[in-house]
């Protein structure tokens, strides 16, 4: 491995047409065709704006809530409307604002911060945005049109506990809107997570060792992995609840061997990491802003990174603290209380690191700094009430009361929204022609900070005086009147502060590619390099955590094209792929440009979910096919063939194609399979949990269906595995047609294996709606079907490309990814057989 140059390797001035060609290749489509754009900056602008729009809309709902609750026996909203309003406030804030906003920040800023030209899968990021935007707008529209005309908004609270949300107690369409609506949000989040993981780990500037990576990139990496492992739990729970609503499969129905607590376990296994998913990137932003504002490097970088990883891990072990009052035995509660206390430690580590950093320099009191200080106060207060509610005896009083409402807003608004405003004031100059107004920012800060505390501090008192959550009104004389009135006043002040910001933003923000206000803060990280549609003109070697401080000439050198990749050697959009830890350059990846297939995929995906909600099944199916067709067209245009080695500057020659575990799409496939694995793991939990709830429903060895079908399924799986091996061996020998046949037959065998198993259960008379056991067995078939379906489609696709010579022994990325997916499906299938056929026999008589 040759050492990386410490001085710019290219000569200036650069050839005259190099820049022009770069600009042409990266040009953004004009006019309405901008919807086909895939540049991370363009998608990022749309993404941030859309997320903020949802913040404002959900905030208006909050104002309605506060107006209704200002006085006892409020008459502004009926109970039906209020219940929809608070449900939508929480749902929109959590799913349509909080996670997308930080994901948007990542899409907008990560490539520039890391020294890449774009995210590794540009269309995937754009798809994630469009699916979210279209679905979100239609979903939010449900509250206005729904409640006015049809009463169709969900009203079960943002965590939608059954049995309240099952068909019997929520017969209207609102709950289905929520369940299926969450579906495209989940897809969007996971697509974003794939981008971010592969982008952060594989497309950094050469020399940007993990220990030199900006903290925001660390937090986005952890954020993305948390999404990978947490979201599948809520995906599973929404699938199960929708199956119960639509088909009567009794997962949550205690009268048939289901359990309402199953939902709570699955939901909160997602829900708790979710709040850290929201908080961590915001903390990462603070770790970027504070060093710049004090002009000193971050103190305790390594401690912060370790703390962030610890928070990521611990957050998966806390979920039962949302269930402390359900009657679960004390020893379990104590265990989760202990873990909830432990997570406070790494959260607190960051606070002291920021204090130490501020002490090591001189803090400039800008609007961004003020929002950071506001964050410190509000989030610390919220964290302290969090420690309080982690203690079970106290939580038994505070749970489901306004104390919790206060706590959650202090940590979420404090922990995410304050940093978001700080981020606006800090980073706008990098992306807009004008910076925001410092004066307006300070006014906005004062109103927001004061208004927030006046609004939410009294809620602690109201909660301890007995005011529960989610009440559309309250009687006078219980001591709740005063706190509520004060809270409403505070909310109006807060709203005014936000309005000040909005006015400032509308007046000042002018998103641009190329003539931004620039590095007004004299910051140290790469996103402050001059940039255009192609990100930075050239890709520097990074030897420091704050490259712009370590090398004051860097910005000029990059702009002159004296570092790597000053042009486009393959004539396409490109970025350098580097090794995950040390960021050694490995190959040059070619990226796709604008197109329609991902947009139509997004439109059809959103339409599919929304039409299913409206029970227009055939139309939904057609849109599903449309989405699939779009995906296939999209995929067909990936995987360009090898273009040999190219010179990226200074004599560094890089290959343009990589296959096997080095390929970036291999990594993406591994991430997708992690999602699938997490989904399967959640399923296994559900299966075993329902057994502990209703063991008498489990058949036991003597009552099981005879094992022939299961053994046949196992044999078919083995045969499919043999076909997989055959495909790989044949492909290595470039016997493409034979490999195609192996692929086709193999995936068909996989599908048959699934069919045989399902048939076996069907023939034994097992019917899903009859018991929780039956429902969970058929849920296994459903999950198998999902993965097998993906394998079949991919198998046919790859077989076709093999036959056409577009997949060869050298150009084998798609076959490698198929092999990964297929092997996973075989593994999951085998485990499913062991579970559903082996476990009942293992436990003896039911």
């Amino acid at each position: 491995m040759t050492a990386l140059p410490l001085e710019p390797p290219n000569e200036a001035p650069r050839p005259p047409d190099e820049l022009a060609k770069l600009e042409e290749i990266w040009a953004v489509p004009r006019g309405w065709r901008i919807v086909t754009a895939v540049n991370n900056n363009i998608v990022g602008y749309f993404y941030v704006a859309t997320a903020f729009l949802f913040f404002l809309l959900a905030g208006l709902l909050a104002v309605l809530i506060r107006l209704q609750l200002a006085f006892p026996d409020g008459k502004l909203l009926s109970e039906a409307t209020y219940n929809q309003v608070f449900t939508m406030h929480g749902t929109v804030m959590m799913f349509l604002f909080a996670v997308p906003a930080v994901e948007a920040a990542g899409v907008l800023m990560l490539p520039q911060m890391l020294g890449a030209r774009d995210l590794p899968f540009p269309r995937l990021g754009a798809y994630a945005f469009w699916a979210y935007a279209i679905g979100g707008v239609v979903f939010f529209g449900s509250i206005f049109f729904g409640s006015i005309f049809f009463g169709a908004s969900p009203s079960g609270g943002w965590f939608m506990y059954p049995p309240l949300t099952n068909q019997r107690f929520s017969p209207d369409i609102g709950a289905d809107f929520w369940l299926l609506g969450i579906g495209f949000i989940e897809i969007s989040a996971i697509a974003g997570a794939i981008e971010i993981i592969v982008g952060v780990l594989r497309t950094r500037a050469p020399g940007m060792h993990l220990s030199r990576m900006p903290v925001f990139a660390w937090t986005m990496l952890i954020f993305a992995w948390m999404i990978v492992f947490a979201f599948p739990a809520v995906i599973l729970s929404t699938i199960l609840l929708e199956l119960e609503r639509a088909f009567g499969w009794p997962f949550f129905d205690a009268t048939k061997g289901g359990d309402a607590l199953l939902w709570q376990h699955l939901f909160w296994f997602f829900g708790h990491p979710e709040v850290y998913i929201i908080f961590l990137p915001a903390a990462g932003m603070v770790s970027m802003i504070v060093p710049t504002m004090v002009r000193a490097p971050l103190v305790g970088y390594r401690l912060i990174v370790a703390a962030l990883i610890a928070v990521g891990f611990f957050s998966f072990g806390l979920w039962v603290h949302h269930m402390f009052t359900t009657g679960i035995p004390a020893v379990s509660l104590g265990f989760f209380s202990a873990a909830s206390a432990a997570v406070a430690i790494p959260s607190g580590v960051q606070i002291f690191a920021w204090i130490a950093t501020m002490a090591s320099g001189r803090l400039r009191m800008t609007a961004a700094s003020l929002f950071v200080l506001g964050f410190l106060f509000v989030f610390t207060l919220g964290g302290l009430t969090g420690v309080m509610v982690a203690m079970v005896p106290f939580d038994r009083q505070a749970h489901d009361s306004y104390f919790i409402v206060a706590h959650l807003h202090y940590v979420l608004f404090g922990g995410m929204v304050f940093p978001l405003f700080a981020a606006f004031y800090y980073w706008t100059p990098a992306f807009s022609r004008n910076a925001l107004s410092e004066r307006a920012g300070k006014w906005a800060f004062a109103l927001i900070f004061i208004g927030f505390n006046i609004a939410f501090l009294p809620m602690h008192v109201a909660g301890l005086r007995g005011m529960p959550r989610r009440v559309y009104t309250y009687p006078s004389g219980l001591g709740w009147d005063g706190p509520n009135l004060i809270s409403t006043a505070g909310a109006l002040i807060l709203a005014t502060g936000i309005a000040v910001f909005v006015v400032d933003a509308v007046r000042k923000i002018r998103p641009t590619l190329g003539d931004s206000a620039g590095d007004v803060w004299k910051a140290g990280t790469l996103e402050w390099l001059p940039n255009g549609a192609y990100a930075a003109r050239s890709v520097p070697v990074v030897t420091d955590r704050e490259p712009l401080w370590a090398r004051p000439t860097l910005a000029r050198e990059v702009e002159e094209g004296r570092w790597f990749l000053p042009g486009a050697p393959t004539g396409r959009r490109e970025t350098i792929v580097t090794s995950p830890v040390e960021a050694h350059p490995q190959y040059l990846m070619r990226l796709t440009g604008p197109g329609w297939s991902h947009v139509s995929a997004a439109v059809f995906t959103a339409a599919f979910f929304l039409l299913l909600t409206a029970k227009a099944v055939w139309l939904a199916g057609a849109c599903g096919l449309g989405a699939l067709a779009s995906l296939l067209i999209w995929a067909w245009r990936t995987d360009p063939s090898d273009a040999g080695e190219v010179d990226v500057g200074g004599g560094l020659k890089l290959p343009t194609y990589a296959s096997g575990p080095r390929a970036h799409s291999w990594w993406a496939t591994v991430v997708v399979l992690s999602v699938a694995g997490a989904l399967w793991f959640s399923y296994v939990f559900a299966y075993l949990y329902l057994w502990t709830v209703a063991p008498s429903n489990w058949p036991g060895a003597t009552a099981m269906p005879s094992p022939e079908r299961a053994l046949l399924a196992g044999a078919l799986l083995l045969a499919s595995g043999a076909a997989l091996t055959a495909m790989r061996v044949l492909l290595a020998r470039d016997r493409r047609v034979a490999a195609a046949i192996a692929a086709l037959s193999g995936v068909v065998l996989l599908a048959l294996a699934l069919g045989a198993d399902a048939l076996g259960h069907w023939e034994s008379g097992l019917r899903a709606p009859r018991s929780g056991y039956a429902a969970v067995v058929y849920a296994s078939h459903l999950l198998q079907g999902q993965i097998a379906g993906a394998v079949v489609v991919t198998g046919v696709f790859v077989a076709l490309r093999l036959a056409l010579g577009l997949v060869t022994a050298r150009r084998r990325v798609m076959a490698d990814n198929l092999a990964l997916l297929w092997a996973y499906a075989l593994g999951q299938g085998a485990l499913a057989l062991l579970l559903t056929h082996g476990f009942p026999r293992l436990i003896g008589k039911g």
């Binding site: 506990y161 009052t325 004390a330 607190g348 410190l376 610390t380 309080m388 005896p393 309250y474």
Partner: protein
């Protein structure tokens, strides 16, 4: 008899009836102490963070230098939290242990409480072991351990009496046991603390702690023979009750009304509130509730009896007020 029994209870100030920081039961008392310590401790820690931040930004150079190293992170971020959290956690776990042990001893009285949308179905056993039903107003003897067996008839509800104990959920398919003791005679207010749709906000209740003799008298009177209605209008009200079909959903022990869909009305007249602590138990409130129940408890199963005339409603209210 039961008349006048609760009259003196209204002396208790309202806020004291329902306040986690004004405890009148053993569990609530322990939690209140924990709460106060945590609040003071938390406030001090917040103050410390603010002071350190202020010093970091505005302090003299030597102080800033002292704060600017990794030791600040190690002491403030690791050592201090580990110690304080360990102490707090252990206290909290020890409290839980005490509550568990105390709850293991048998209770003097067990009451079944079933949560319904949006009221509370109560089931007692009297001294002879006979069962009798009540609704919405839990009466207990003061100073003894009482177990509430919590179940749900429909969705998840939660029983919360902030002045007495922590809350416990009612989950379909499970029975949860809430151990309480009221240390002072009086009226304690509670509220459903798990969103249960529609009129969740109107699902309150009261727990009345009586001196042991008063409680014994109350319990003994559960199966007392029904008295004839005192006045003419109450007698007419009884006819209205029967004619309107109220007995299809409600029970009045000793009469033909044996419905179990809605709350038991046998001793409605003696209660302090109606409609799950939503309205005071006055003549006008009773009449209003019968005529326009959906305004008070939207989405509940009680249909509005708007076709009854003013007189009929008034007579009915008189009859119901006499059910003691």
């Amino acid at each position: 008899m039961t008349e006048g029994m609760t009259d003196g209870m209204t002396n208790l100030p309202d806020a004291a009836m329902m306040n986690a920081l004004a405890p009148h039961g053993p569990e609530a008392t322990q939690v209140a102490t924990l709460t106060q310590v945590m609040t003071v401790g938390g406030a001090l820690i917040l103050l410390l963070v603010c002071v350190l931040t202020a010093v970091a930004i505005l302090g003299p150079r030597s102080w800033k230098r002292a704060l600017s190293g990794r030791d600040t992170v190690r002491w403030g971020g690791f050592a201090f939290p580990i110690v304080t959290l360990a102490a707090l956690l252990f206290w909290s776990l020890w409290t839980m242990r005490g509550t568990e042990r105390a709850a293991a001893a048998p209770a003097a009285l067990t009451i079944s409480v079933v949560g319904e949308q949006w009221w509370w179905r109560l089931d007692y056993r009297d001294a002879q072991g006979r069962r009798f039903a009540e609704a919405n107003e839990i009466v207990v003897p003061v100073g003894v351990d009482v177990d509430l067996l919590l179940e749900s008839a429909d969705v998840i509800h939660s029983v919360w009496l902030p002045s007495l104990a922590g809350k416990l959920d009612m989950i379909p398919g499970r029975t949860n046991r809430l151990r309480l003791r009221a240390d002072r005679p009086g009226v304690y207010r509670g509220q459903c603390a798990e969103y249960c749709g529609g009129s969740h906000a109107r699902m309150g209740f009261e727990l009345i702690a009586l001196a042991p003799d008063d409680f014994a008298a109350w319990r003994a009177a559960a199966h007392a023979p029904r008295r004839e209605p005192a006045d003419e209008d109450a007698r007419r009200g009884r006819e209205v009750f029967a004619a309107a079909g109220c007995g299809a959903c409600h029970t009045v022990r000793g009469t033909d009304a044996q419905g179990r869909v809605g709350p038991d009305l046998t001793r409605l007249g003696a209660r302090r509130h109606i409609a799950a602590a939503s309205l005071p138990n006055t003549h006008d409130a009773r009449a209003r509730f019968v005529a326009r129940s959906q305004e008070v408890k939207p989405q509940s199963l009680m249909p509005p009896f708007a076709f009854l005339t003013e007189t009929q409603l008034s007579d009915l209210a008189a009859y119901l007020g006499g059910l003691k």
